[in-house]
């Protein structure tokens, strides 16, 4: 185990013509942690992941994955040997059966664990004889996850791993991710399921229109983000609350709702000075932080 970042990028850019899908991305994913990668559809998550894996070339900038440069084909290949990756569309060979697929993948990877594969196969209840093209969306996802989890990678990169899974499947997935992390694997996954992320992630990165807007530990987000609802005797002045750490201020009559990423004390002090008749401070969930972040941008 080292403390060097599992993933690190500097000014990573990907342009398609005049459209910048990823803009000046400085990403740092800590080792032995679970990091969630959030963003709306088209925010640039999958493009970023594909650049990290050497599947598409960056237009500018550089980065390393497990200490190997992503721009160097040989180094990138070396890194790929230590990474399990589950792609967004879960590409598998439709003409193979579940059993053939597992045997095929097992012959491929040096870090393959037969016992784990059997255990997961039993837990997921996948039909061995069925052709992959006849699997339901959820089963297909499970098979793709099985292939990733049966290895013992240093880094696990999952692009929307819970897509198509039922609540039981999602719970099993989260448990497996937690278990993988406990074995020392670094987990980096993109997701739209904010409630899941909120439970298991150590850190969260929020990408919006190709830009990294938030890169913080969930502990930090939980401790610093607050919504402060204020009531005043007369209509308050919104600009009074435009200060450092205040993400947004909304007014309705005598009420103000302040969304703060810090500096809560200063807000309370100002509210006291302006003779607020009610001050309520409430914690903010990751869903609100996410919505506020992508809306503000």
């Amino acid at each position: 185990m080292t403390n060097a970042p599992a993933i690190e990028t500097h000014g990573l850019v990907k342009s398609y013509g005049r459209v910048e899908a990823v803009r000046a991305l400085n990403l740092c994913v800590e080792p032995n942690c679970i990091t969630a990668f959030l963003g709306c559809n088209g925010a640039g998550k999958s493009t970023t992941i594909k650049m990290l894996l050497g599947m598409i070339a960056p237009s500018a900038g550089e980065g390393t994955v497990l200490g190997k440069r992503i721009g160097d084909p040989n180094e990138s290949r070396e890194a790929r040997g230590k990474i399990s990756y589950v792609a967004e569309n879960k590409p598998l060979y439709g003409y193979m059966s579940v059993e053939q697929t597992i045997r095929f993948a097992g012959s491929f990877y040096r870090d393959w664990r037969d016992e784990t594969a059997k255990e997961l196969l039993y837990r997921y209840g996948l039909p061995l004889e069925r052709k992959v093209r006849l699997l339901s969306k959820g089963m297909r996802t499970k098979l793709a996850l099985l292939l990733a989890f049966a290895r013992r990678p240093e880094l696990l990169i999952l692009d929307e791993p819970s897509e198509g899974l039922d609540p039981v499947g999602i719970e099993e997935l989260l448990q497996t991710l937690v278990g993988q992390c406990a074995e020392g694997t670094t987990v980096f996954f993109s997701s739209h399921q904010i409630a899941e992320v909120e439970r298991i992630a150590d850190r969260v990165c929020i990408l919006d229109k190709g830009r990294l807007m938030v890169d913080a530990s969930l502990d930090h987000l939980r401790e610093s983000y607050r919504r402060i609802d204020l009531v005043f005797p007369t209509t308050p002045c919104e600009p009074d609350f435009r200060m450092n750490g205040i993400e947004s201020v909304r007014g309705a009559g005598c009420q103000l709702s302040v969304f703060a990423s810090g500096n809560v004390e200063a807000v309370i002090e100002r509210a006291h000075d302006l003779r607020a008749t009610s001050i309520e401070v409430a914690p903010v969930g990751l869903r609100d932080i996410f919505l506020e972040t992508v809306k503000e941008n």
Partner: protein
């Protein structure tokens, strides 16, 4: 031992776990020498990052409430300090009860009292203060 972590309370999960283990020691649900589940086992059971469990265990070891033995897990060491903490909690409960009675006498509804308590507890300076 049952622990329940709530991701939406505005408090880091490792702090919630620390408090619940402390509380279990104070109430006697966990006793001196009791073994806590391993990091991986508890992480899978609570479905939280193993780093959350590791951080809570290591902070409690720092406080002297847990002893971490290499390879064999975490053991509780309930010393006099914990019991005096239990006395503190007992005293605090009594004072809170008295305060609530006074507020009710002043005509405040329970819901208003609860909100006032919650608002004060979420005050940032209160959160960082260590018990």
């Amino acid at each position: 031992m049952f622990f329940k972590l709530n991701p939406a309370t505005g408090q880091p999960l490792y702090l919630q776990l620390m408090q619940q283990i402390r509380h279990a020691a104070e109430t006697g649900a966990l006793r001196d020498g009791d073994q806590l589940p391993g990091i991986r086992t508890l992480a899978e059971e609570l479905v939280v990052s193993p780093n959350t469990i590791a951080k809570a265990y290591s902070e409690l070891e720092h406080e002297g409430l847990l002893e971490l033995r290499q390879g064999s897990g975490a053991f509780l060491c309930v010393k006099r300090r914990t019991r005096s903490l239990a006395d503190h909690v007992h005293g605090a409960r009594r004072r809170i009860r008295e305060l609530i009675e006074r507020l009710r006498d002043d005509g405040l509804l329970d819901e208003e009292i609860r909100r006032a308590f919650e608002a004060e507890l979420l005050h940032p300076t209160e959160i960082v203060r260590k018990p």
